[in-house]
Symmetry: D3
Subunit: 159 residues, 6 copies
């Protein structure tokens, strides 16, 4: 099974790495995809986000990372993935992700989405929280992977 785990990863958090680790066990191949919209502002460039993901997943042999600025379903077709994988934390996630899953199915009948529930300790964690805390100089060391902590801190800390 070739799984595709898309997200904005702006930046990657421990919540994302939890999903990546667990999804990698279910899949023969897992592609983690930085899905970006060229028209939307983000804190990290797609290249920076991909670079962080590459570092974080370096030890997972069946995981590769990529970036894509188009329709998810086109990438899904291109790499002939079998399933889209998403994490769910809360009710608001649920509604948004189900909408996306149904849109993807409408656009491509074979595009199945499977959901993993977030680890209990990550239910409150999001890229937005990381940026909010870091922008005020707060300690984000329990929110992001240690290997990329310095990079994320230095990019998000205000001058």
């Amino acid at each position: 099974m070739h799984g595709l785990y898309p997200g904005s990863f702006d930046p990657v958090t421990n919540g994302h790495t939890d999903i990546i680790t667990r999804a990698a066990k279910l899949c023969d191949t897992l592609t983690v995809l930085v899905s970006f919209n060229p028209d939307k502002a983000a804190s990290f460039s797609p290249e920076e986000r991909l670079d962080l993901l590459n570092k974080v997943t370096a030890d997972l042999p069946n995981v590769k990372c990529d970036m894509w600025g188009g329709l998810l379903i086109d990438y899904f077709d291109k790499v002939q993935a079998d399933v889209v994988i998403k994490g769910l934390r809360a009710v608001s996630d649920f509604e948004h992700e189900f909408q996306q899953a149904h849109v993807n199915k409408e656009l491509c009948a074979g595009a199945e989405t499977i959901f993993l529930c977030s680890d209990i300790s990550s239910t409150f964690l999001s890229s937005g929280v990381v940026k909010q805390v870091a922008s005020f100089g707060g300690d984000i060391s329990s929110f992001v992977p240690a290997i990329v902590l310095p990079e994320i801190v230095s990019r998000l800390r205000k001058p």
Copy 2:
């Protein structure tokens, strides 16, 4: 009964036309109202949105379309409508729409709102989804009325 169906319709989707068709059966007169905020960015101008709605509702004799840049309740009073009509798709709609309904009632005691639940096939559909898919060149033909598809596609497709 004179019903008033307000929305941003930026642009109209099959979810909107489902509500319009069903609401038109319940009302003697149905006014579909492009409600716009001059200070907020939108993809289509109010005039464009009204034009799309006029085309889409051309075959419904008791439906007329209009646009309004002020307080909904002032338009409601002006045309002496009996009810505001809204569609509900999901829990997040529910909370937002109930807030608006209660605000309208606070501002005008006689302003009753009635809700129709979205057709099953439209629960995942929104103007935002249409714009997201179209901006990447995806196929939106199952999301918007055929009669306005070319206009919407040409306006949303990137250069």
Copy 3:
């Protein structure tokens, strides 16, 4: 428009009478229907519930009350109603009522359901709350219509 407002009304509360009063303004005829399941335990018999509703709606000339132990949609067909009317208080109501509305539409394509949002002061009110408070001898005078308060109190108070 002939509206059908079904419920278990076990017993009627001020939340129900709020919906009845507002729905009666929207409809030419409103039928308030005690919908009961002969196999389910209830605190009041269908006849008692109907009797309470008749007293509560005596002053509303276009409202009549009835009871029905079968499929809602069969009654809907029998009286040739135009719409089912339901009140919504909270997210949990929303999910249940939407399920019912979609089931009814599946069983009878013409069966439209419209929803009114509960009055702000009734959002916490239900027949279950009335019974819970009354069973402990609490004061339910602000929860049920004054005209049926003595009957409800005497039936629910423990011996």
Copy 4:
């Protein structure tokens, strides 16, 4: 991947068969498990429910059905499954299923649960709806698989 799809299936609906068909494509082996609690009342006996599932899945070569009256996680261990599979329809499903998934993980660290979202046309469908409609003699032919329709109807229709 060996998937385990547990449920009460009291009785099986088209919503269940949708999940079974899609899950069977993701798994090498899929076990559909009638999970019953000997102390809880049900409309169909575990044996009847299993029999219906066997008929419904007869054409799916990698699907087998079983029943279990103990802790799910013990069955999961016994058959050395890789994942539990569940369908999600609505917000209320979401909360209940996440609770169960976390409990299972607490009891057995390796027990991963993956969720599929219900097909759009099954979001309103449940075993409870089937029983409610059938008990009043309503038409359930669009709710349950044709092959088991007569059995379900004859069991649920009142004398």
Copy 5:
């Protein structure tokens, strides 16, 4: 501040003891109240539940436990408490608890309720989960306080 923490505690879980410990820090006196309905079936008798709570809170000097089979607000008045304290885990808790809080305020204008959010590790935990797992002989040692584990296990394990 005299806080009143009511619940059915059938039986006490680690989720309850987390709320008790934190509430005890906020209050001068905290009363933990087994609130029971003589007409509703429960797994443990009110006396057994109170006994378990007494053992669990023995080390908390400003906490005392009691039981009550009447209206919460009558006990609140009787002991002249200042606030009702409740834990919130999930959206479904939220709706139920807010309803209760508004009912209590309607019955007694001075009855304020404050909510604590469950500890992350207890969001999936409830008395129902404990009973479900224990009834199948599952390990509940991470769900209930160690001091009362043997009692709870022996009462819930099937013969």
Copy 6:
């Protein structure tokens, strides 16, 4: 108990003053804190918002107001508060506020958050509603405290 009630208060509404009044009864000292993000656009400056709060709370002797552009938890430490206090209106509030409460606890183990449920009449009220209505010249006199109504109206009304 020293309570800290943070918010953006852009501008203060009757929903905020309801929470302030009730929280002031529970606390020895209550600090109402304008929490602002220097990078985010707001309708009122932090100084203006603080000024409005000072006027609104002038009669409450144990309430003082302040403003803070940093991490909430740093202010909490600085003034040695005992609890953060937040109001909850709806499900969407609930998820956001619980996320914040868990983040604060992660950053500072002693930071307890308590929640009060909004007064029934304020459940639909927010700063956003006030601004939306006022921007169209609507009447906001039932939404904001009378003492600051003229200031808020003159600031929000369009030229």
